[in-house]
């Protein structure tokens, strides 16, 4: 088997960059602990998914062009700690630029380079045990775009199973959407709120300490809801859980 690529670029994503920089740092820490050299190409902003999903494809295309320029023409894997941004680049960048002679090939190239964080650890590096210890109980929330868009489920679960001291509990109907959906969460606030409450009930019924996931967007919606209802339950991105467990 060829040696897996260990020089990677990190796509921080806008939410991690501005709201959850500790999670981005955790991604770097976990990767560096595996001997991976992480680069962060400068000038990163947003992949454009919120605009794309809201129907504003011209705006999305402008942001996507920026992102394609930032990541350039190297063939390094681009690690992305978000299933939904990953799915956006993998599935919809090629659609956005399908008739564009310049950006079309670049969109397809980046779509081929993008690897979600747990996919990289488990499927590329073959690592399911990072040597972490965390004494807590968690439920894993499989975010929809990770689960259905990128088929990410066994990777995070395998990583969680190998964390010493961790109890992984199972919520009812685990594959049900939390109701985030980007602009949907504001534009269709009532529906999003109703979906969120259904999910929070399922999470809280487990009595776990944290809801763990691989998408901070869903997690901030879930934690925002937990806090709003006065719950003691919190959320944690899997990278942060792993990084804290190996410190």
């Amino acid at each position: 088997m060829p040696e897996p690529p260990r020089n990677v670029s990190l796509f921080v994503t806008c939410l991690l960059d501005t709201l959850f920089p500790d999670v981005a740092q955790a991604v770097v820490d976990v990767l560096e602990a595996q001997g991976v050299t992480v680069g962060v190409p400068a000038g990163q902003t947003c992949c454009g998914q919120p605009a794309f999903n809201a129907g504003y494809w011209d705006e999305a295309r402008a942001m996507a062009r920026h992102t394609l320029d930032v990541f350039g023409d190297s063939d390094e894997p681009v690690i992305i700690p978000s299933g939904s941004c990953g799915a956006m680049i993998e599935h919809y960048y090629p659609e956005l630029f399908k008739d564009d002679p310049e950006y079309g090939p670049r969109a397809r190239a980046l779509a081929g380079r993008i690897v979600e964080f747990t996919q990289y650890l488990v499927d590329v590096l073959g690592v399911t045990d990072v040597g972490a210890r965390v004494d807590a109980s968690v439920v894993y929330h499989p975010s929809c775009h990770a689960l259905r868009g990128l088929h990410i489920d066994r990777q995070p679960r395998a990583l969680l199973e190998n964390v010493r001291g961790l109890r992984v509990l199972e919520q009812a109907n685990p594959e049900t959407c939390c109701g985030f959906g980007g602009v949907f969460s504001v534009k269709m606030g009532e529906i999003s709120g109703a979906m969120l409450h259904n999910r929070l009930d399922a999470f809280e019924a487990t009595g776990a300490d944290w809801v763990v996931g691989v998408d901070v967007s869903c997690l901030m919606h879930i934690e925002g809801g937990l806090r709003k209802r006065g719950s003691a339950m919190r959320t944690k991105h899997l990278a942060l859980l792993l990084a804290e467990g190996i410190r």
Partner: protein, 467 residues
């Protein structure tokens, strides 16, 4: 379409938690059964792939198969009518009804007749219309309309149904299901025997034989096609399969996906009217093929929606459908498929909210027996709502601003600094207050996380300088 704005319909639906519980548990139960029974196929994935190929091939050659169907049905003695839109379709049925002197019509379940609002048109001509599918019968008696394409009264409890039967049919109140069934059965038996025209939908039309296929669980489809002297089937233009072999593939998936049955109790193939050597059956058989926007879909990048076999699995699995129920969609076709079909049939302006009423979770795509990429179709329709100026001004302005921020690292850093300032001014933690304007919809249900004092990229640059 409903005159009440989508948001108000949603709010009204959310005011009725008992009804939503009935819908949510009904939809979930149907989907659990679907999952179990789908596995009884030797290779469910291969069957679904094959079904998708059949649908894709048929839709790509729709003109050819429709012509073949027409030729074969005509040879069987049936008559084919083509309706460009709902008005034409209604008029064709009305003309037949008038010509044959129909006074009483017995109908089996058909969503396309809901789409073209046929019942009201017949009733306006003084013709009695009786729905004979149990769920449709209940909805009709209740003065209600279907909230689900397979289970029309998923939203009603049996107590509500008992009250309807008591008030409308004069039956003694009961909420026992066998008793309720018996009441409907007694009423409908009389209808079948006295109706002079039967109207059905068409689950599939088979091109090579000129047959229409009806699936029911109550046998009402057979009664309606066999007893009245005239049979009219109304079908959406896309409901065609090339051969009987293709039909068998579709039937293996339809009942499994819809109701979690291997097959429905009755599967009827109708090849035409009574032949000279036959004793029973209708004297005339008509098939009305309805376009009503379908050829527009065929010519667009939404053509894949025509693969749909109307099983309702995408409704059952959809967390939005489960949260708000079918009536909130304000369309004959609710759920994910309805959010694509409704704007195609009724125009984007009338249904501009529906493509946006989805978190794009993709459960519908996974559930679809023919793997229609519903999220992508919803996204393309969203793009259409923006192009046609059907989006709120605040959102379009916000997106312009967002584009300016996200295409310039300098402006992006500035926006992050403003966010951090907001967080510092509001206590440095999760924001508990109410955000103004449309953003208030976030804080009504959630707190908002604090912006970082330094973005990760700033931290990273500082770290690089120290190295």
């Amino acid at each position: 379409m409903s005159d009440v704005p989508f948001k108000e319909r949603v709010n009204a639906a959310l005011q009725n938690p008992d009804r939503l519980r009935a819908i949510s548990s009904g939809a979930e139960a149907a989907f659990v059964k679907r999952n179990i029974v789908l596995e009884s196929l030797p290779d469910p994935d291969a069957t679904r792939d094959l079904a998708r190929q059949i649908r894709a091939h048929t839709i790509a050659h729709l003109d050819r198969y429709l012509a073949e169907f027409e030729a074969n049905l005509t040879a069987n003695g049936g008559q084919v009518h083509w309706a460009r839109d709902a008005d034409e379709a209604r008029q064709i049925v009305l003309d037949i009804a008038t010509r044959v002197g129909a006074k009483r019509v017995a109908k089996s379940k058909s969503m396309v007749t809901e789409e073209i609002r046929l019942n009201a048109a017949l009733e306006a001509q003084g013709i009695e219309v009786w729905e004979t599918d149990l769920g449709e019968f209940i909805a009709q008696q209740a003065g209600d309309h279907p909230s689900h394409i397979i289970v029309p009264v998923m939203h009603l409890t049996r107590q509500e149904i008992g009250r309807v039967f008591h008030e409308k049919l004069g039956a003694p109140y009961t909420d026992e299901i066998p008793e309720l069934n018996l009441i409907a059965r007694r009423t409908l038996r009389e209808v079948y025997l006295s109706a002079d025209m039967g109207i059905t939908g068409c689950n599939f039309a088979v091109a090579e034989t000129g047959s229409i296929c009806l699936v029911t669980n109550e046998g009402n489809g057979r009664m309606v096609t066999a007893l009245p002297r005239v049979h009219v089937a109304v079908m959406g233009m896309e409901r065609i399969v090339p051969t009987l072999d293709d039909l068998s593939v579709m039937l293996q998936l339809l009942a499994r996906s819809a109701t979690g049955q291997k097959l429905t109790v009755y599967t009827s193939l109708v090849n035409g009217p009574r032949r000279p050597d036959e004793e029973h059956g209708p004297e005339e058989m008509h098939v009305v093929i309805v376009d009503n926007g379908r050829s527009r879909a065929l010519a667009s990048d939404l053509a894949e929606i025509l693969y749909c076999i109307r099983c309702g699995a995408c409704l059952n699995v959809c967390p939005v459908y489960r949260a708000i129920g079918g009536h909130a969609y304000g369309s004959v076709y609710p759920g994910p498929v309805g959010s694509v079909v409704s704007p195609i049939l009724g125009g984007v302006p009338a249904f501009a909210d529906l493509p946006h009423a989805s978190s794009l979770c993709g459960a519908c795509k996974d559930a679809c027996p023919v793997r229609i990429d519903l999220p992508t179709l919803l996204l393309r329709l969203r793009r259409e709502t923006v192009k046609q100026g059907q989006q709120p001004g605040w959102l379009s302005a916000g997106m312009k601003g967002y584009r300016a921020v996200a295409t310039s690292p300098g402006r992006f850093r500035l926006a992050a600094r403003l966010g951090a300032l907001f967080t510092r001014l509001t206590g440095g933690r999760w924001f508990r207050g109410s955000l103004p304007g449309p953003l208030g919809a976030w804080t009504r249900y959630r707190e908002f996380p604090p912006f970082a004092r330094k973005t990760f990229q700033q931290r990273w640059q500082e770290r690089s300088r120290h190295d």
